[in-house]
């Protein structure tokens, strides 16, 4: 039994490495094959509190790329004891253009918990983004629907625990005075935040300000509910973070 557990433990440790490799193999050719370019680098610093982890500090780095018909966001979060790696892509469908664009959304997420095991979440869905520009305000509304598959690996389990659940997302963003952005969203997942059952949504709100053309600063507050029904949920996790976005000049 001890040998079996050791082998299983090795398998668990290999999972993050495998995910890194998959991400690298997936991301690198995508970037190389298209005229995709770096559009933003975001660094966050924050605080979180959850039912499983008392108040703690965390941080994440994510990099955005975009090109003709594709948007890509890849990042890593350290929220001890959990290490998250997230990848999200938007493939814009060619038959649509501004202000309304349809897209295929895909997401891959891996969370590694050294004492417990690892989990992988994969999302595939259809999304739509609508941009409307008014006199002093731009409005962006996006939503998506799809399916999520999650797998949890633990050293003592012969088989991973597999969960299927719906993916949903709704986001509204307002950009005012060309420098201030306010957004709110609710959905079954974010780049790093997932649950094995989709009826526990993540809601978040953020406000950001463009200091310069290249630097944006902002803050965000998010809550992960234990249930979708207001009469029974508790807040399973809450996060507050500040972030800095560096937007490189596009030649």
């Amino acid at each position: 039994m001890a040998i079996e557990r050791k082998d299983a433990s090795c398998r668990i440790r290999c999972i993050p490495v495998a995910v890194y490799l998959i991400l690298t193999l997936f991301v690198a050719p995508t970037i190389g094959a298209t005229d995709i370019s770096l559009t933003a680098v975001t660094q966050t610093f924050g605080w979180f509190d959850s039912t499983t982890t008392p108040t703690h500090l965390d941080g994440s780095t994510s990099i955005e790329f975009s090109g003709d018909g594709i948007g890509l966001d890849v990042g890593m979060r350290i929220q001890l004891p959990v290490w998250d790696i997230g990848l999200a892509t938007s493939f814009f469908l060619k038959d649509t253009d501004e202000p309304l664009r349809n897209m295929i959304v895909t997401k891959v997420h891996s969370a590694h918990r050294p004492s417990f095991g690892s989990s992988i979440d994969v999302v595939g869905g259809y999304g739509r983004i609508i941009n409307i520009a008014a006199h002093a305000m731009d409005v962006s509304i996006s939503y998506g629907l799809g399916i999520q598959v999650s797998a949890t690996f633990m050293p003592f389990l012969d088989m991973p625990l597999i969960n299927f659940s719906p993916y949903y997302d709704l986001e509204i963003a307002l950009e005012m005075f060309d420098s201030l952005m306010i957004s709110t969203s609710i959905g079954s997942s974010t780049l790093f935040e997932y649950s094995t059952q989709a009826m526990s949504p993540v809601a978040k709100g953020s406000i950001a300000y463009d200091l310069t053309d290249a630097i944006t600063v902002g803050c965000e507050y998010s809550v992960h509910f234990s249930d979708i029904l207001p009469e029974t949920f508790i807040i399973a996790k809450q996060e507050a973070k500040a972030y800095v976005v560096w937007i490189p000049k596009v030649s």
């Binding site: 975009s66 997401k107 999304g127 520009a133 731009d138």
Partner: protein, 318 residues
């Protein structure tokens, strides 16, 4: 959601201001209506935890003995949905003529439909009817039992503590409150701490399933980390089984390891509708101290009023 997508600078879709205002007001109004129409009582919404305790003194020196106990869940007193029905007379008649000995009963939650006081009073009468037959009932709250003033009624009519433990003939039963689809921080911490100090064989009793099967899209605990912590506790601390309800169809068995399993019990009430087609059921679990195994037997009231008995599972305990 539009990952990596930043709106290009040349987007200049100018619509009439009035149209924008209508859209904006529409969005804001929709959000307002979405959050206002349910009118929940937020007084019970906890951000972190419940207050209770798994620190009840238990006997950890006694040797294991064989015994049987009754398990039922999802009674839903007060439920008026189409096709829902109960077979209380058949249940009491069966209990009064049951040939074996039943030491106690477990209720895995959702004994009310909407946490109303009259529903709690009906359940209190049910507990009393069992007590009159010398069968004490141990109950956990379900998601239907904690709405509005539900937790207050629970402490008044059912049990002062939302979660607790007790030991019987060498086995410790941990009554876990998962009414919020999470244990909350304090309950989880206390569960891990107390199970580590408890040398008995243990059984977890909860309303919401831990995992069940891949197709339980809504019916299990959603937090991956919480689930991992519970599973590790089960394997490390001799927790042989995780009992749960919530999923009315029930009868779902999942073996995490040879000695650690989960079983989801079906609803006590029956329902004959498009959405749910189930017969009224209850279960008798029998621990065999010689084989160190747990047998789960289902008793179902058929359409003709007869009660059938089927051995659903026989599980090896750690």
């Amino acid at each position: 959601m539009s990952y990596g997508y930043r709106k290009s600078a040349d987007v200049n879709v100018r619509l009439k201001t009035s149209v924008h205002q209508i859209i904006m007001y529409g969005i804001l109004l929709s959000i307002f209506l979405l959050f206002s129409c349910s009118q929940p009582d937020y007084s019970h919404v906890e951000t972190r935890d419940l207050s209770g305790g798994f620190d009840q003194p238990i006997d950890m020196t006694g040797s294991l003995e064989s015994f049987s106990f009754l398990v039922l869940n999802d009674i839903h007193f007060g439920r008026e949905d189409k096709g829902v029905y109960w077979k209380f007379d058949e249940f009491w008649q069966w209990l009064d003529t049951y040939p074996g000995s039943i030491d106690f009963a477990l209720n895995l939650g959702d004994f009310t439909e909407d946490s109303q006081e009259d529903e709690y009073l009906e359940y209190a009468d049910f507990i009393q009817d069992l007590a009159n037959r010398s069968i004490p009932m141990h109950t956990v709250a379900g998601n239907h039992d904690i709405r509005n003033r539900g937790r207050s009624y629970f402490s008044t009519y059912v049990c002062a503590a939302p979660y607790k433990r007790f030991a019987h003939k060498g086995i410790s039963f941990y009554m876990i409150d998962t009414g919020n689809r999470s244990l909350g921080n304090r309950q989880l911490e206390e569960l891990i701490k107390e199970t580590a100090q408890d040398t008995n064989l243990k059984m977890f009793c909860s309303h919401v399933p831990l995992y069940g099967s891949p197709d339980l899209i809504y019916f299990a605990l959603p937090d991956t980390q919480e689930r991992m912590m519970l599973l590790k506790t089960m394997v490390d601390e001799k927790v042989g089984i995780y009992f749960s309800g919530h999923h009315h169809s029930g009868d779902v068995l999942y073996k995490y390891t040879e000695e650690n399993s989960e079983f989801i019990f079906g609803a006590f009430h029956g329902r004959d509708s498009f959405f749910e087609s189930t017969l009224p059921r209850w279960y008798v679990c029998t621990y065999d101290s010689i084989k160190n195994s747990l047998g789960i037997t289902r008793h179902t009231v058929q359409k003709d009023g007869s009660i059938t008995e089927v051995l659903i599972a026989n599980l090896i305990m750690p």
